[in-house]
Symmetry: C2
Subunit: 160 residues, 2 copies
DNA sequence: GCTCATGAGTTGAAGCGTCAACTCATTACT
DNA sequence: AGTAATGAGTTGACGCTTCAACTCATGAGC
């Protein structure tokens, strides 16, 4: 990809587009993290884990599949679920079908937590991302996002 | 911002646009960090610091101003510059004009480092962000980015 | 001149993510 | 049956970021 010197710098149009994108990539995760931290005291990754569990059948998932849904490593998930378990929001048990798997189960308290947290987070997404755009731009954003993510490793898109 | 339950969920178009954006925000920083780590052994923040210094008059800047340019806290910058100093890429001296300030000076080795690193990073930005898009989409992206970043705290856009 | 307020910068502790090493259950092979 | 291979999950160490507490130089007010 980068063996020797390439002189292909960015022109004005490209530089402006890139700076705008860099601004988003820098500020948007920070803003969403801040909202969740302030209103719910959890990280965005913890939110994603709880949300994924809340939508699963019986509100339970195997750790390895949950890690895929949440776009994180199994190690990261293991650390996080340990914290969530300490909070009483998730419980871990070995899978009866196959002892190699661990099943993460959302508790009643965990369900209450995600139910209380989700509307505010969706509202933040709407305010920060969707509301500033016209309907046409929302469509354009979808196309642009698909093209860019297509060039990276594919992603399993999940809910807000 | 979020006091009680709001029922304003996302429709299909909005959800798809948001998922595309979430994919970018998740994967793009990871991909750019990985490129820099692999090709230069530095983080994206370290790259931004070196790049900002390389473009400053005399290749030197006050820490506090450098922190603004790099979009980071002074504390974070202090830790990072300590590492960069250990590598021999930056030197710190008290500002002769005002002893409260510290001036970070890019060394010759630091200059060589950023000169060697920048083309590959710009190339990665081009490959991952610009190349997948049509010219029209590049323009749309700029507008979309400006609108979204406008709704967040403003940013001092800086070079690639 | 002295004291105090201000703000730049540093430092160390704590939290989170990554990486590599490890355990363990199951399956495949002989 | 016995052994090795595989892959899920956990763990601990390390690195980076944040936060709060601290030092220190300067300027303002008396």
């Amino acid at each position: 990809m980068t063996s020797t010197a390439e002189p292909r710098w960015l022109n004005d149009e490209e530089r402006q587009a890139w700076m705008a994108m860099a601004g988003i990539v820098f500020a948007l995760p920070a803003a969403l993290d801040a909202q969740l931290q302030r209103d719910a005291g959890i990280t965005h990754f913890e939110y994603t884990v709880l949300a994924a569990l809340s939508e699963a059948p019986d509100r339970r998932l195997r750790m390895s599949y949950l890690a895929q849904l949440a776009n994180g490593s199994l190690s990261r998930l293991s650390h996080v679920v340990k914290r969530l378990e300490r909070q009483g929001w998730v419980e871990r048990t070995p899978d009866p079908q196959d002892g190699r798997f661990t099943v993460a189960q959302l508790t009643e308290a965990g369900w209450d937590k995600i139910v209380a947290t989700a509307p505010g987070h969706v509202e933040a997404v709407r305010e920060l991302v969707l509301d500033p755009l016209t309907r046409a731009q929302v469509k354009q954003l979808r196309e642009i996002g698909l093209r860019i993510t297509g060039g990276l490793g594919l992603d399993i898109p999940r809910r807000s």
